[in-house]
């Protein structure tokens, strides 16, 4: 110990040996005083030891104030090497905290200085300079990078001389400086970008908006592009910085705190303070402002696109669909670039609102007006229409406008229908692409953040359901006015042709012929004529041929007007309408064996044709019809059970009985006895 003191003395004498002195003091401080006192045998010696202790304590005090002084001097002189040199000595004197605080204060001063410089150069930057449009984001970036670099560079020294577990103290102090400096940069940015004025103008416009008249102080959405870009950049930089310091501090905790519970507690405390830091609050405010502006941008750009909505020659959809989704995608992508989960969620929500209130509702309104019938196929229909149009002509005193009006309505209807269907595709691809960019751009999210994003993304996806309902509504409108009334007269032909009579007639003629022969009368020409008629009917039956031609015509008139999906839906509707009406017609007629055969042939032709033009799924509609034909085409009732073993009937037992009853030659009680 004596030796230690002597060394210390020497060290003091040679002014520059602070390190040696500190090392000796460190050794002294590591000793256990009381233990030493007890282990010394004699009382006199103990006394002696105590005086040494006093001297050493005195020396420690002197040294520590000397080092503090030297450190401060070095800071004043901006002598980096000395600052580092004396900073390393504090832990030897067991003055970790003081050393770290002094050192960090020095670092903070440095940060303050460089931020002041950066701010000045940002303020003096001319508007035409290269990066002037993002100069405030750049200034923020310089601040964040500066602090991050400081941590990066100083951490090894701190760890070597102070040991692990001290970083959080330094980081928190730096963070407070960061809060202050970011606040300064932020308020300069607000001033220079007139952010508060812009935000309040936009807020007013949104609040009293839906405004038909744009307010005088309302900015042009296009002018906001640059500002929006800068704001997202600022937050993205802040997020990057926060992630960096979180990672560093967590790693430091991991190195110093082996007990998990303790570590987690420390981490939670640190996280708690960080998440309530001024920087985080300021950034949230910036994201809040950004979101208002972005919402405005989205809505106003949509309004503009809607005002310029046009249908190009030969296009199925109008420009609004592509435009709307382009705008939506742009806005949400920009919010993703901000790295703010709340910002992205909010923009996803605003996009959903836009899709549902503007697109879905807009299309629904157009479709609600209906699809005016066109083309008159039979006299009756034409007559009714003529009458009503005469009436309306009389009332309105105009003739020509009605057809052009309904042409325009038809066009608008079909465009809206196509727009809705295409919007569904757009939503799906938008969802997929946004999910991708979120996954790649926003990494390391907390579970809560991920759940928030997923929930909002999912809301976007479910807008397809609303759109699908509108498509369904439109198709049903089309069915009501363009399909149903036209299918009806075609199917009506079915009932004008008997499926019972031919054979009877032939038989009657034969009988007549037999009777007439003895009388020398010549009726064979009549028989031949009837037979010829039937043969030609068989080869080229008028009903199914006409039906197919008409259906083909109807579909043909829509092929070029509808998108593929909608066309398929129309085909489906048409097929089921034909099947439904034909079913009804069948129940109104009666059949004999030959009639059943004829009907089977007709159904085969129709089903063959319809299957060809439609999708596989649509053929379901036709199965019932085919099965009815099968039943009506039986040789005998006994065959029903044969078919039952190989067929899954789409007809209910009672329907099957009803169909069988249509065969005039099937006995009612036999039908009744059938086990179905």
């Amino acid at each position: 110990m004596l030796a230690a003191y002597v060394d210390l003395k020497k060290a003091f004498d040679s002014v520059h040996h602070y390190e040696t002195a500190a090392a000796h003091i460190h050794r002294f401080l590591a000793m256990d005083e009381t233990l030493l006192l007890h282990t010394t045998d004699s009382a006199s010696k103990a006394e002696n030891v105590e005086t040494w202790f006093d001297r050493l304590r005195q020396a420690e005090k002197e040294l520590s104030s000397l080092i503090t002084h030297k450190f401060d001097e070095a800071v004043k002189r901006e002598d980096m090497a000395s600052v580092d040199r004396f900073f390393k000595l504090f832990p030897l004197l067991k003055k970790h905290e003081e050393g770290l605080k002094k050192f960090t204060t020095y670092l903070c001063a440095k940060i303050q200085e460089s931020t002041a410089q950066n701010l000045a150069s940002a303020q003096n930057l001319g508007p035409r300079e290269k990066r002037s449009h993002v100069i405030w984001a750049d200034t923020f970036t310089l601040l964040f990078e500066g602090i991050a670099r400081t941590i990066e560079v100083r951490q090894p020294i701190i760890e070597t001389y102070y040991g692990p577990g001290h970083l959080s103290l330094v980081v928190e102090m730096l963070q407070r400086e960061c809060d202050r400096q970011a606040g300064r940069v932020g308020s300069e940015m607000r001033k220079h970008r007139r952010l508060d004025a812009v935000v309040s103008a936009v807020r007013n416009s949104l609040r009293f908006g839906g405004g038909r008249e744009p307010r005088a102080d309302q900015p042009d959405p296009r002018d906001l592009d640059t500002l929006l870009g800068e704001l997202t950049l600022i937050n993205a930089r802040a997020e990057l910085y926060l992630r960096f310091i979180r990672r560093r501090v967590t790693a430091d905790f991991e190195a110093s705190l082996p007990v998990a519970a303790e570590r987690e507690k420390k981490e939670a405390e640190f996280e708690g303070r960080l998440s309530q830091s001024q920087l985080v609050c300021d950034m949230a405010v910036i994201v809040g402002d950004y979101t208002i502006l972005e919402q405005f941008y989205l809505n106003e750009s949509f309004k503009k696109a809607l005002a310029m909505d046009t249908v190009e020659e030969g296009a199925h959809t109008s420009s609004i669909v592509d435009d709307a989704f382009y705008i939506i995608k742009k806005s949400i992508r920009r919010s993703i670039a901000s790295s703010s989960v709340d910002g992205v969620c909010a923009m996803l929500n605003h996009a959903v609102t836009l899709v549902e209130t503007q697109l879905v509702e807009g299309f629904r309104q157009t479709l609600r007006k209906g699809f005016p019938a066109q083309g008159y196929l039979d006299l009756n229909q034409a007559y009714t229409v003529l009458q009503s149009s005469l009436q309306s002509t009389l009332q309105a005193g105009k003739i020509n406008s009605t057809t052009t009006d309904s042409d325009a309505l038809r066009q608008a209807f079909l465009t809206a229908l196509n727009n809705t269907g295409t919007s569904m595709c757009h939503v799906r691809s938008l969802y997929a692409s946004l999910e991708d960019s979120i996954n790649s751009a926003m990494v390391g999210l907390s579970n809560t953040a991920r759940a928030k994003l997923d929930s909002c993304l999912n809301d976007l996806k479910t807008t397809t359901g609303k759109l699908a309902m509108v498509v369904e509504f439109g198709i049903s409108q089309l069915r009501a006015t363009a399909v149903k009334p036209r299918v009806k007269p075609w199917v009506d032909i079915f009932n004008t042709i008997s499926h019972d009579i031919q054979e009877v007639l032939v038989m009657a003629l034969e009988a007549l012929h037999e009777e007439a022969k003895p009388l020398g009368l010549e009726v064979s020409w009549l028989k031949t004529k009837v037979q010829n008629q039937f043969a030609s009917y068989e080869a080229n039956d008028p009903f199914s041929q006409t039906l197919m031609v008409q259906v083909d015509g109807l579909l043909g008139s829509f092929t070029s007007l509808l998108t593929e999906e909608n066309y398929k839906a129309l085909v489906g509707v048409l097929v089921s309408e034909v099947a439904e009406q034909l079913e009804k017609a069948v129940f109104k007629s009666s059949f004999n064996r030959l009639g059943g055969l004829q009907f089977d042939r007709e159904v085969r032709a129709i089903v063959g044709y319809l299957s060809q033009v439609s999708e596989w799924g649509v053929r379901e509609h036709l199965t019932r019809l085919t099965q009815m034909a099968t039943l009506l085409n039986l040789e005998s009732i006994a065959e029903v059970s044969e078919y039952s073993s190989t067929t899954t009937w789409r007809l209910t037992p009672s329907e099957m009985r009803k169909v069988l009853q249509l065969r005039v030659d099937f006995k009612a009680d036999e039908i009744k006895r059938l086990k179905l």
């Binding site: 809040g288 208002i292 709340d342 049903s476």
Partner: protein, 258 residues
């Protein structure tokens, strides 16, 4: 995939510092975090509750009260199934702001949203707003009302459970009972169901129902006035039905053919 029957979004709104976050924490975690900092942006919690043996998932969005975050918080109104508007019973200013909040709700929320007024902090000695004042306000604006204390865990569970129940009931009403689908109705058809008016679009044949706010149906009826028989009980659509009857799920009162 979790198994639940319905998922409901519940959004808490109200001035800063009225205790929204504390209500949510109390309900979802059973905690009362003292010295809770201001919420930044929007917080998000999930809790599954059981209503009549069915699992109901509540997605609770806890929003920041500050004006600055309004664009973010407002974006959640429209998809919300229930909005909980909170004020502090010991703070008159938080109550005075309620009309502003209602205006926001009118502007942004769906018309069929369930609206609940909550007077929080009943544990406070310095009450400034008697219960009946809140009650009257809620009644006047067609809202549910409850007073809670997140600190004492008073009525917090009840608040959320009632909301879950109410929403479940409304959801189940939305699945029409068979008679509605079979009818050949003229379009559109209005059906009164509980407190709500439904518009049935029979053209789509699937009878998808939209629940409308009493105010809305008055509008719709007016729009259709040209086709409306003046003697039809429009009044029923124009005003909310009495509370007692509103609870009766079987109350399919009138079907109006237009």
């Amino acid at each position: 995939m979790e198994d639940y029957k319905f998922l409901f979004k519940v959004v808490l709104i109200g001035n800063a510092g009225v205790g929204k976050t504390c209500l949510v924490r109390r309900f979802t975690q059973g905690l009362f975090p003292p010295g809770q900092g201001a919420t930044i942006g929007v917080d998000f919690m999930i809790k599954t509750v059981e209503i009549e043996g069915e699992k109901i998932k509540l997605q609770i969005w806890d929003t920041a009260g500050q004006e600055r975050f309004r664009s973010i918080t407002q974006s959640y109104y429209r998809s919300a199934h229930a909005l909980i508007l909170v004020y502090d019973i010991s703070s008159q200013p938080t109550f005075d702001c309620l009309p502003d909040w209602l205006r926001e709700i009118e502007q942004y929320a769906s018309c069929k949203v369930l609206r609940v007024l909550v007077g929080n902090k009943t544990d406070r000695e310095d009450r400034e707003l008697p219960t009946h004042v809140g009650e009257e306000f809620a009644h006047r604006h067609n809202m549910y009302f409850i007073e809670t204390s997140a600190k004492e865990a008073d009525n917090v569970e009840k608040l959320f459970i009632e909301i879950a129940k109410e929403l479940t009931q409304a959801q189940e009403c939305c699945f029409p009972h068979p008679p509605l689908t079979g009818f050949e109705l003229m379009t559109p058809t209005f059906v009164f169901f509980g407190r709500s008016l439904f518009v049935v679009d029979t053209l789509t044949r699937t009878a998808k129902l939209e629940i409308c706010h009493p105010k809305m149906c008055q509008m719709s009826l007016c729009l259709q006035q040209g086709k409306l028989d003046q003697n039809l009980p429009v009044a029923h659509g124009g005003y909310p039905l009495p509370r007692s009857r509103a609870r009766d799920a079987r109350l399919v009162v009138v079907v109006v053919w237009l």
